[in-house]
């Protein structure tokens, strides 16, 4: 890694005449909204030399994407550059005509969008879409030439059998393949600058790593400068030499990545560095193996307690009998294969594991691994095809009478992923949290109100939230409400299905902190479903790694992180962004 980056540094010094490739100074972007003008980007300045890579890091709404899309004049809606300058190779880009910008887009600045699923037109084959770019940018003169070039582009993008792939349509490509094609399109005219807007956040971690590695190789070969837009500080530091940290439309800190990680000076960056799970997990790993850690120690109290607690986990021995126990659980779905034929699809295949009282068991896996199906079966929202799901010794499938089901529901409660869908938009917060109490006939109206206040206090929200509606709250706040609702009946087990995955890092840290606090206060057991191993490191006592419906590895968190047995687990661990960051002197 170090050798590679020094190599790039040398390469960059050659062509430049002291002038940076891209120079953004005092950029101002504003949007017209119903409530007046909103300044989304205020006085942003950064610069990038040829061949360098730069990452703009920030939470959602920090203006990171807006700054990047302003460079190629692709601002959404009413967005407008209202001040400052953007110079590419000395040429001013602010205020140039649409035709001039179109000539620059593609040929000089390439763009890789965020969502590979919606950024390829489903009605045209891949070849057409690549050739369109080549012809539009004058890279190829004739269709024949374009086709030959298109094959080359896809090959370079790492798609095997490119000649055949040209005739295929986007739906025949996996997410990773689509993103490769998009990167290929973005780089097809060998632009000087490539803007990658969260290029891999929609992909599985292992795919993410391969794609980023490949992007890295390609841009280094071509000498292309890259701007990454990302919310993941670990990924940013690993993939870019320079960091620009944005907060509420302003740059709060910028400079060499390693230096910022090692010595964040702005309080916001300090918070961010402390809260990033990928970095925290890396830090814990380093401490264990007595490495000399160059990443700043956590400063925010928030994360310190989280890590301390995580480190003390091993002491919490698990002697009691399991509260949840899965024995050879299998779930099969019938899927229609056209006509009246159906085929059996095994989503979960003979899975066995235990959750001990007061501990957290994480189930980690990529999309389609069957981890959410397990959550649904434990919650008795899906039937079990074969095997047993035991909750405190009782087989869940055997619970049939309405009264017993109700009693079961009281003990096992879920928190879901999407904070925007988890609360009924027509119920205010008090009604939402009180619903379980009403359904189970707990207490009088007055007692229920008291309990709602108590629960809001437990999830650290002010009592005034009671009269609010979900759409007035942020994602993190909604997730707190979801936790409060789940806790209303004083359950033994919470099933957290990607409960923090959709949240910004700092908010995620807060919720994780809240969850660990609640666990130690109430002795809750968590079944923690996630795709993010870094988060697992912070909260889980034991881990089950799932792949295609089966558990490939199951052990304590420390065992999995220190000495993974299976190759798949090793791949997952290596794919945690930031894992490749050099530590030590």
């Amino acid at each position: 890694m170090t050798q590679e980056s020094s190599h790039t540094m040398n390469a960059t010094t050659a062509p430049t005449t002291g002038r940076p490739l891209l120079e953004v100074t005092d950029l101002e972007v504003s949007f017209h909204t119903q409530n007046g003008i909103v300044n989304a980007v205020r006085g942003v300045s950064f610069s990038l030399n040829a061949g360098e890579s730069l990452a703009i890091v920030g939470e959602s709404g920090s203006g990171k994407s807006t700054s990047a899309t302003a460079i190629i004049d692709l601002l959404p809606g009413t967005g407008k550059v209202t001040g400052g300058s953007i110079r590419l190779d000395g040429t001013e880009l602010v205020g140039i005509s649409r035709a001039e910008m179109e000539a620059i887009r593609g040929s000089q600045i390439g763009y890789v969008p965020q969502d590979p699923m919606s950024n390829l037109n489903p009605v045209w084959n891949i070849g057409f879409q690549v050739m369109e770019t080549l012809l539009a940018n004058g890279i190829a003169k004739s269709r024949k030439e374009a086709e030959a070039k298109a094959i080359q582009v896809l090959q370079d993008a790492g798609l095997p059998d490119a000649g055949k792939r040209l005739r295929q349509y986007p739906h025949q490509f996996s997410g990773g393949m689509r993103q490769r094609a998009l990167i290929g399109i973005g780089l097809s005219s060998q632009p000087k600058l490539l803007i990658a807007d969260e290029p891999t956040s929609a992909l599985d971690v292992t795919v993410q790593r391969v794609i980023l590695d490949h992007l890295n190789t390609l841009t280094r070969e071509l000498g292309t400068s890259v701007i990454f837009i990302t919310h993941d500080l670990g990924l940013a530091a690993e993939r870019a030499e320079k960091l620009v940290v944005m907060y509420r439309g302003q740059v709060v800190e910028s400079g060499p990545s390693r230096e910022i990680l090692a010595n964040p000076l702005h309080p916001y960056t300090q918070r961010l560095v402390a809260a990033a799970p990928s970095l925290a997990s890396r830090r814990m790993q380093a401490v264990k193996s007595h490495e000399n850690v160059a990443i700043a120690a956590p400063t925010a109290a928030l994360d310190l307690t989280l890590i301390e607690r995580a480190e003390q986990r091993e002491e919490a021995a698990t002697a009691a009998s399991p509260i949840i126990s899965l024995r050879d659980v299998t779930k099969q779905y019938k899927i229609r294969t056209g006509g009246f034929k159906t085929e059996l699809f095994t989503a979960v295949d003979k899975v066995s594991f235990d959750v001990h009282p007061g501990t957290t068991t994480a189930i980690v896996g990529e999309s389609g691994s069957g981890k959410s199906t397990i959550a649904k079966m434990v919650l008795k929202l899906e039937d079990v095809t074969a095997g047993n799901v035991l909750v405190d010794g009782t087989d869940v499938t055997a619970i049939r009478s309405a009264k017993d089901v109700l009693a079961f529901r009281r003990r096992v409660q879920p928190v879901f992923q999407d904070p925007y869908g988890t609360l009924d938009p027509l119920y205010n917060i008090a009604q939402t949290i009180a619903e379980p109490l009403v359904v189970h006939g707990v207490g009088t109206a007055k007692e229920r109100t008291a309990r709602v206040r108590e629960l809001l206090d437990q999830v650290s929200l002010p009592v005034s939230t009671m009269s609010r509606y979900p759409n007035e709250l942020s994602g993190g706040q909604r997730q707190r409400i979801a936790v409060a609702r789940a806790l209303a009946l004083k359950p033994d087990v919470l099933v957290l299905d990607e409960a923090v995955s959709a949240l910004d890092v700092l908010v995620q840290g807060q919720i994780l902190n809240l969850l660990t606090e609640l666990q130690s206060e109430m002795g809750l057991s968590y079944l923690f479903i996630t795709h993010d191993l870094a988060v697992v490191r912070l909260v889980a006592d034991s881990v089950c790694v799932m792949k295609s419906g089966q558990i490939v590895e199951s052990a304590t968190t420390d065992e999995v992180f220190d000495s993974p047995r299976e190759q798949y687990t090793k791949d997952l661990l290596a794919a945690i962004p930031g894992a490749g960051i050099e530590l030590g002197a």
Binding site: E241, R271, V405, Q413, G421
Partner: protein, 316 residues
């Protein structure tokens, strides 16, 4: 302002007083409370079209309920053939019909049957459509197939055509209620379809799954979470179709298969006016104008309500 010469990758830090930190994820306790209906109301409140259309509707409803406040002319008693097709004169601002009846009085009294048909048919359609659509969407499977296919069969028949055929057989018992009933027989599938779609999307929300996991029964989930979240599009369709039912009633009456000619309704008046359109245009103009204004009011209301209930359509 940041003034870093980042030609050399120097470590730049913004001054803290220019980039103050906020408490992470703080609840804004001063914000105005809002939800779908409150937001819709705020948007409606500023819409002139909403105020115009709703005050017109209120006025028409008032006329329909208390016609005697607007004219002291008992409408059918005082028809005098001497006044046949007469123009406006003092006390009779709209002139007279062929039979010498006061047009103004007839228009005022004609509001009631038209509105009765419109409102009753809309209520019936909404009740039947919402119940069937919600059951089909929520329980799915066999139930859904039956309801959807039966709905499709009715949907294929044009409302007016179906109503003409059925009304023919009811020659003895034609009144506002039977007209409304017949119209709703052919109009319910539209509401059922819309409800079904809205229910389908609402039932897959996490809050529904969360409620089931809380132990709420399926029926209660449907009533308390799914249905309330599916009603917005139904309200829009209901407002618009109220207007179209009034038109349908007029059409049927014009064709002689709607309300009996003894009932004063705009449709009947238009029908009777056709023989004297050239000599006495007022006999057609006023009932037709009243009909158009009423329908227009409901259509406009439906339009603004749709925009208010759809956050995407609302001006940003």
């Amino acid at each position: 302002m940041p003034n870093n010469d980042s030609r050399s990758p120097e470590h730049y830090v913004a001054p803290l007083d220019e980039t103050p930190l906020l408490v992470i994820d703080k609840v804004d306790e001063n914000a105005k409370p809002s939800n779908l209906w409150l937001d819709a109301w705020r948007s409606l409140r500023h819409s002139p079209i909403f105020w115009i259309s709703s005050s017109m509707i209120l006025f028409i409803l008032f006329v329909g309920l208390f016609p005697f406040l607007f004219t002291n002319e008992p409408p059918n008693n005082k028809c005098d053939l001497d006044n046949s097709n007469g123009g406006p004169e003092a006390g009779h601002p709209f002139g007279f019909t062929k039979l010498g009846c006061d047009v103004f009085a007839r228009v005022v009294y004609g509001a009631q049957p038209s509105l009765t048909v419109g409102i009753t048919a809309t209520l019936l359609v909404v009740i039947v459509g919402v119940i069937l659509g919600a059951l089909a969407g929520f329980y799915g499977g066999f139930f859904d197939t039956i309801i959807s296919r039966v709905g499709d069969m009715f949907f294929a028949i044009p409302v007016v055509l179906g109503a003409i055929v059925l009304m023919q057989t009811l020659s003895g018992t034609r009144n506002a209620l039977t007209v409304a009933l017949i119209l709703s027989i052919f109009a319910w599938p539209q509401v059922a379809r819309i409800t079904r779609g809205a229910v389908l999307s609402a039932k897959n929300s996490d809050y529904v799954t969360a409620s089931i996991a809380l132990g709420v029964t399926r029926f209660r989930v449907l009533m308390r979470h799914v249905l309330p979240n599916s009603l917005a599009p139904v309200i829009v369709v209901a407002t618009v179709s109220l207007g179209t039912f009034i038109v349908a009633e007029a059409t049927l009456s014009y064709l002689g298969v709607g309300l009996p000619s003894s009932v004063m309704s705009w449709g009947n008046d238009i029908s009777q006016a056709q023989s004297s359109i050239r000599t006495a245009p007022q006999t057609l103009l006023y009932p037709a104008g009243a009909l158009s204004l009423t329908v227009l009011s409901f259509l406009m209301l439906g339009d603004v309500v749709r925009d208010a209930l759809d956050p995407k359509a609302r001006a940003r």
